[in-house]
């Protein structure tokens, strides 16, 4: 405990110490510490303000204001006299004053804007309006521990502007990133409001372990889905080793850097954005009509020689809708879905800056109803980012964020409710007029599950960062911060006891068993606290044509997680939901805690010559508590270079290219994302038993430890080509990469006879190779608000391959997948099927069947190894083969935006050209297990007379022979989707600075082959909180 306190204490001491340094050197050259925090490359820092002007000719003093297209002043714009050192910068109001020779020509420039040359002539006041530059080369890119001009970046780096993100009416930043960046693959797995699950992959799956990229928000690891899109200034995706090696051991899966907004110099600006929208289920499988449903259930019984479940009278009554209490057919979809579920978001932000500092503050509120009834999530986020200029050399920077998330729902998860919908017979009354429910054989009345009980998860997250930037001299500056990031969640699940449930056949009150028999409360508390500190020294100097930059630093992260939970049942009543109101007899408590630490040293050096040749080297040295002594330190280096060919003399006069640059990089990264303490053999204390009703503790080694485990190492090479045409209005960025991850930590299966769960071993190698292409076209700028448009296209592909399993394998991590050398990590295995048996000829042709009962109407499985038996191991031992894989291939995004006068329009398409999904569970079981019957099944189920051309197997009650993993059930889930469209209108008025209204749609159109589920559905039994689409409208106001 002392040790832990010490590290925090120590870092505060270090901070105080560093602040004190400034006292020892009070008189170094004046610099602008805060300039480090502006998006201004240090190379154009205008310290020339203090340079005495030269008196060569008759001087005039020119004054004026520099503004942008909209007339907003641009502070910090530079005004210079070419060929001399004369120059100045605009002040906070965009004003400048400069004394120059009268014949001079002035250059006005500012990052992100096109420079203008203006002859002074006899004018003494020159007001300039700069046009925003379309060239991304002038853009400043946030990179690890600093910023760089896009033109100097030699690694594979993509950026997304905060503006683009904020425009999307989504509450989840991850969803907003989908399709924006080549090589960044995001899949939305659905989920309850506030708990959407998205999987994010950069350049494929590089490991058999956790493949999530490192997501850093203001330098500290956080979840992407919890950052408000409105608060994001920019997002940088570091894709290759060269750009991410500075994050060393955590960067093997790529890095996403999120920078939150900071105050802007100038008067107080207030913006208000909102939207209100309506969500509906997207692509939930369509059920067949009740009559077909009941007939198919009867057919499933008849096909095994059993009596029909539904009488003709019953079917007729359901069809006619007569007496639904006597002849019920439950519409679970209607009973649990929430049509037109409301979603809204409001955000207010304030920005201001002056001589003593600047501030950005915002409050965001979102309220989302689930598309399942009674689910809701409310989220409030407050953020204050401030920069205080303590002296002209020292900036103190504080970032404070508080977030409150309140999730609420009924006593069962959406997954459970969907499971009930998919698995339960429908001849029941979901809910009687008096509010009672039919008991469906115990517990699974979907309506009761969706209506009764209560779940709430309330989280309080606090992020506090205290940092500084100190300019030691013109070349050197020191930066650092101490960050505390805490997340705590109160979990609460109350399940009602429902004494008044009814027998679904008689309507009589029954003895309730299962979940609804007793009320139960489970409460939990989770606490995560991460204390981190980083300190780094930057060097930046330009000598003539040589420009040198360097960074060395230190970072340490300590994370502690704790969880405790308790439960009681048999409550006094359903309304008394305090844990003290429950019965102590069955009470339980449990808890868990863990901690990890990462200690790192890193450095970077950049050199560029004449803006033509650029070199960069990075190194990181990481120590992790996840490994045993002697195995815990790793070195991760990288190198990259760039050649701006278009600056060469032989191309300078060439008109074709406005930019042409070749880049190359090589580097190594680490990955340590395995469970904690996996290098130790430990006795788990959670193996208790009971003798004569008395509980006794017990221990066991449940998992073998492996003291030899160490870092996974990813080696990655990247070649990139940047091309600009027509003054960079057309930009083409192409990348090719090869990524090889060795020493992958996997739980190589061990013989079950050993009796432990498998330990992790450094035992595999995986490669990913792929390419990315981005093409952007910006229409000519139209300052008069005429028609203007831009188009962006990105396209990428990755091929994954397991290169080495140390001669072992194949391994079967679950019943769908296989790991074997030479194939993708996500390979799917299964039996090979040419279709279903439709005739005796088929039976003769494929005599080997999985079970002896297999006959006409069942799925044919090919006896690949010809041994006369269908066996479910991989060929040649058995008859399974690798039938495909789940890797998304050829992902793309297309963005189009246009504006004319006050109108703006944008749309964004996203898709995957090749993708497969293996079906499992309810959707293929249908009436065989009294499950949900999708429309497709009703249409396709084979029957010799009724439907001889059916492509799905004959329905047979209790049949399992047709449910084997096989290519029969493989679905093509390639898709093209209109992720978002938006139509806005900026209302001309004089009351506020800007007023825009818009309408927008998310996921409104999808083209895909499968009609069973959303193409983004995760593999498995289709039991999850369903996907949704959203139609919304909103306003943006700026005061």
């Amino acid at each position: 405990m002392k040790k832990r306190l010490l590290s925090g204490y120590l870092s505060i001491k270090i901070l105080i110490f560093l602040m004190a340094i400034q006292l020892f050197y009070p008189n170094i050259h004046k610099g602008h510490a805060h300039a480090l925090y502006e998006e201004v490359p240090t190379s154009i820092k205008s310290s020339e303000r203090n340079t005495p002007t030269l008196n060569l000719m008759a001087d005039v003093t020119v004054t004026g204001t520099v503004t942008d297209q909209n007339g907003e002043p641009i502070p910090g714009a530079t005004i210079s006299l070419p060929g001399t050192t004369i120059g100045t910068a605009t002040d906070l109001d965009g004003k400048y004053s400069l004394t120059v020779p009268e014949t001079a020509e002035l250059v006005f420039s500012f990052i992100g804007f096109e420079s203008q040359r203006i002859k002074i002539g006899d004018r003494s006041i020159i007001n300039v309006s700069l046009l925003e530059s379309t060239s991304s080369l002038d853009e400043v890119v946030v990179v690890g521990f600093g910023t760089q001009k896009r033109a100097n970046v030699t690694g594979a780096v993509s950026t997304v502007s905060g503006e683009d993100l904020a425009r999307r009416p989504v509450t989840n930043t991850a969803s907003a990133l989908q399709g924006t960046t080549p090589g960044l693959s995001i899949q939305n797995n659905g989920g309850a409001p506030g708990a959407e699950s998205t999987s994010i992959r950069i350049r494929g799956v590089g490991t058999l372990n956790n493949s999530n990229p490192l997501i850093l928000v203001d330098g500290v690891e956080q979840s992407l889905s919890t950052v408000e899109p409105n608060n994001i200034a920019s997002i940088t995706v570091l894709k290759d080793a060269a750009s991410s090696a500075i994050y060393g051991s955590r960067a093997a899966n790529g890095v996403i850097l999120v920078t939150t907004k900071r105050g802007e110099d100038g008067a107080v600006k207030i913006t208000y954005n909102n939207f209100v929208g309506w969500q509906n289920p997207n692509f939930f499988p369509e059920p067949t009509d009740p009559v077909t449903w009941m007939r198919l259930e009867n057919e499933a019984q008849a096909n095994v020689g059993a009596n029909p479940t539904y009488s003709e009278t019953y079917i007729e009554n359901v069809a006619a809708g007569t007496n639904p209490l006597q002849y019920p057919f439950a519409d679970y979809e209607g009973g649990i879905f929430n049509r037109n579920a409301l979603q809204q978001r409001h955000s207010v932000s304030l920005s201001s800056g002056g001589k003593s500092g600047r501030i950005f503050a915002s409050v965001n509120y979102s309220d989302t109803d689930g598309i399942l009834q009674n689910f809701n999530n409310k989220q409030v986020t407050m953020r204050i980012n401030s920069d205080m200029y303590a002296t002209d050399k020292l900036t103190i920077k504080t970032n404070l964020m508080y977030r409150n998330r309140g999730f609420s729902g009924p006593g069962f998860t959406g997954q459970r409710i969907t499971q009930a919908l998919l698995h339960i017979n429908r001849n029941i009354v979901m809910e009687y007029p008096d509010g009672t429910y039919d008991l469906v054989s115990g517990q699974w009345n979907a309506r009761a599950m969706a209506q009764e009980g209560e779940t709430s998860n309330i989280s309080d997250d606090v992020f506090g960062q205290l940092g500084f930037a100190y300019t030691i001299n013109e070349a050197l500056s020191l930066e650092g911060n101490v960050t505390l990031n805490t997340e705590s969640t109160d979990g609460f699940v109350f399940q009602n006891s429902l004494a008044g449930m009814r027998n679904y056949l008689t309507g009589d009150l029954v003895n309730v068993g299962g979940w609804f028999a007793t009320s139960k409360l489970s409460e939990s508390q989770m606490n995560q606290r991460e204390l981190s500190q980083r300190l780094y020294l930057n060097y930046d100097q330009t000598f003539d044509k040589h420009s040198i930059q360097g960074t060395v630093g230190y970072e340490e992260i300590y994370n502690r997680y704790k969880q405790i939970s308790a439960s009681r049942d048999n409550f006094y009543s359903n309304d008394l939901r305090d844990i003290n109101a429950g019965d102590i007899q069955n009470q339980t408590t449990s808890g868990y805690s863990q901690e990890w630490r990462l200690r790192s040293f890193f450095g970077r050096a950049n050199y560029s010559f004449d803006d033509k040749y650029m070199f960069q080297a990075n190194v990181r040295y990481d120590g992790s508590s996840r490994f045993g002594e002697g195995k815990r330190w790793g070195v991760f280096p990288s190198f990259s270079a760039g050649w701006r060919i278009s600056e060469e003399d032989f191309l300078k006069d060439e008109d074709l290219f406005s930019n042409l640059r070749l880049r190359g990089s090589w580097g190594q990264l680490g990955n340590q994302r395995i469970g904690l303490y996996r290098y130790l053999n430990t006795y788990n204390l959670n193996n208790g038993y009971q003798f004569n009703n008395n509980l006794v503790p017990g221990t066991a080694i449940t998992r073998a430890g492996n003291p030899d485990i160490t870092w996974e190492t990813t080696t990655m090479s990247n070649v990139g080509l940047d091309m600009g045409f027509m003054d960079d209005r057309i930009e083409v960025i192409a990348e090719y990469f090869y990524k090889y991850t060795d020493d992958i930590l996997i739980e190589l299966p061990i013989p079950r006879t050993i009796g432990y769960n498998a330990p992790v071993q450094n035992a595999a190698a995986v490669s990913n190779k792929g390419w990315e292409l981005a093409i952007n076209y910006h229409g000519t700028p139209a300052p008069d608000n005429g028609f203007q448009y831009s188009v962006g296209l990105n396209f990428s592909d990755v091929v994954n391959k397991i290169e080495d399993l140390k001669g072992t394998g194949p391994f079967f991590p679950d019943k769908f997948t296989v790991w074997t050398e030479g194939e993708s990590i996500n390979s799917l295995r299964g039996l090979k099927s040419p279709g279903i048996y439709k005739s005796q000829a088929d039976l003769d042709k494929y005599p080997a069947t999985i079970f002896p009962t297999v006959t006409i109407g069942d799925v044919i499985y090919e006896d690949l190894n010809g041994d006369g038996v269908i066996s479910q191991s991989l060929y040649p031992a058995g008859d399974q083969y690798i039938m495909g894989n789940e890797d998304p291939r050829y992902e793309f995004g297309v963005r189009f935006s246009a504006s004319y006068k006050g109108f703006d329009f944008s749309m964004f398409w996203q898709g995957v050209l090749r993708q497969q999904h293996s079906l499992d569970g309810a959707l293929m079981e249908g009436p065989n297990y009294t499950n949900f019957i999708p429309l497709t099944m009703a249409r396709e189920a084979y029957h010799p007379e009724r439907n001889p051309n059916g492509t799905w197997p004959m329905v047979r009650s209790g049949n399992s022979a047709n449910l084997m993993e096989s290519d029969f059930w493989l679905q093509n889930t390639s898709y093209l989707r209109l992720k978002n469209f938006q139509l806005g209108y900026t209302i001309p008025q004089n009351l506020v600075a800007n007023l825009r209204v818009y309408i927008s749609g998310e996921n409104m159109l999808t083209f895909t082959e499968t009609e069973l589920f959303d193409p983004e559905t995760p593999r498995g039994r289709s039991q999850f909180f369903p996907h949704s689409k959203l139609f919304s409208g909103g306003i943006n106001v700026r005061f």
């Binding site: 115990g442 056949l505 068993g513 028999a517 508590s625 303490y677 130790l680 006879t753």
Partner: protein, 518 residues
Amino acid sequence: MKLINKTIKYIGLSYLAFGMFSCDQGLDLIPPGEVSELIYWQQEKDANLAVNGIYTELDGQTMVKELDGATDIGFRAPSGPGSLHDVSMGSFDPVNGAIGSQWDRYYRGIQRANNVLANIDRIEQGDQELLARYKAEARFLRAFFYTQLSSLWGDVPLILVPLEITDQIGRTAKSEVVDFVIAELDQIIQGNQLPMSYSQEVGRATLGAAMALKARVAIRNERYTIARDASMAVMDLGIYELYPDYGKLFNYAGQNSSEVIFDRQYAVGGDTYNAFSYAAASIGGGSVVEPVHNLFLKYGYKGPQNPNDPFENIDPRWNFTTYYTGQPIGTSNFNSLPDSPTADRVRSSEFSTVNGYNLKKWVDFEADGANPNTGAINMILIRYADVLLMYAESKIELNEIDDSVYDAINMVRERPTVEMPPIASGKSQEELRAIIRDERAVEFAFEGLRLFDMNRWKIGEDKIGTVEGLYYLNTTSGEWETITSGLTRTFRPDRDYLWPIPQAEIDINDNITQNPNY
């Protein structure tokens, strides 16, 4: 002033250096909730905890209640692929998950026992007598696991020490595994290494349990002399007797009674299960297994048979084992007929029966009705009636038919709540063999013994054919008929007497072979 500045600066720098470069400090983080093996095996308590950890791997509900669903007397409800339903139907293969999970569990238990035996001697301080008993408990439990393994899979890897993760152990002949089990149990019995009983921790392995297990492993392997002597030894202990109430024996009332020799214990607050998941839908159950007509046919009658009511005068054990139409259940009457207005109506839902009978054994409605989620009736693994019938059977097989054989069988039949007429003496070996086999079927239905009995008697083919359930008077035809879903079972005698070695084991373990015809 300058000096002070400098001093502060250097102190500061050295602080900085200390903070940054004491490299490994703080990186040695051990799990707060687990015990490193480096410090384990030092105190007596360590042995106690590690032995307790073995008991958690004992057979539970699946092997006791559900396994009979895969025999001729029961049926396991359909569910997703890979369940005991597929075993029940004869349509299973080496990837069957239900089979694989039993294999895994037995070897987990063996690893835990081996780990205790390999390390317990490292404990220097502590009650040596107690430590010796812990050792014997571990060896008893290991013997139990090997008894089950060898019965279900035949030749199995015989592993007696903790393994390295690289080890791949091949199979040992079944007879050698059995020899080992018997030798282990002999050592425990002859050395009196386990107590006769426990005053506090009832449920731990006893001497009687070791003897009874010896009888079981012997009779399963046709070593009738050993079986006879071992069961005789249990009887001679004089501490076991039949519990008077056959129905309550499987309720809370019968727990830890003098009939129970060894069981898998449960307790509220510790391990529990859903008390009714194997039981009738109308009391909130899921009908995971159900008795079938074949079982009904095995019960005799204690009085004259009534042609108009086949349930009249039937062996009372039938009524304690099965819910059939007309019997009280919960607060009403059981009715699974196709026109039943109750949730028990056959095939009316995923939770009702497929063929009409529900399991009544192990249901304690009075105790669990209000809260079936925390069922805690102990699962009996060996009881005295089994010892009596093993004694009788081994004597019959040895053709040593004497009064003690009839006495043993009749004691079981004449239990106060059963009171079946005694078997009259003068039967041939063949007749007695038939009698004892039916007696075992009805006495131990849904106690996880039937599959083992069928396998050793080689009568697996008895389950072939259409599964038939509830016997009822069809009012339309006026005939007694059975309800059936029409499902037909298969049994391949060249294959199905042994379970397949799980595919997951075959895939990795290069030294293991598969059972024939899988």
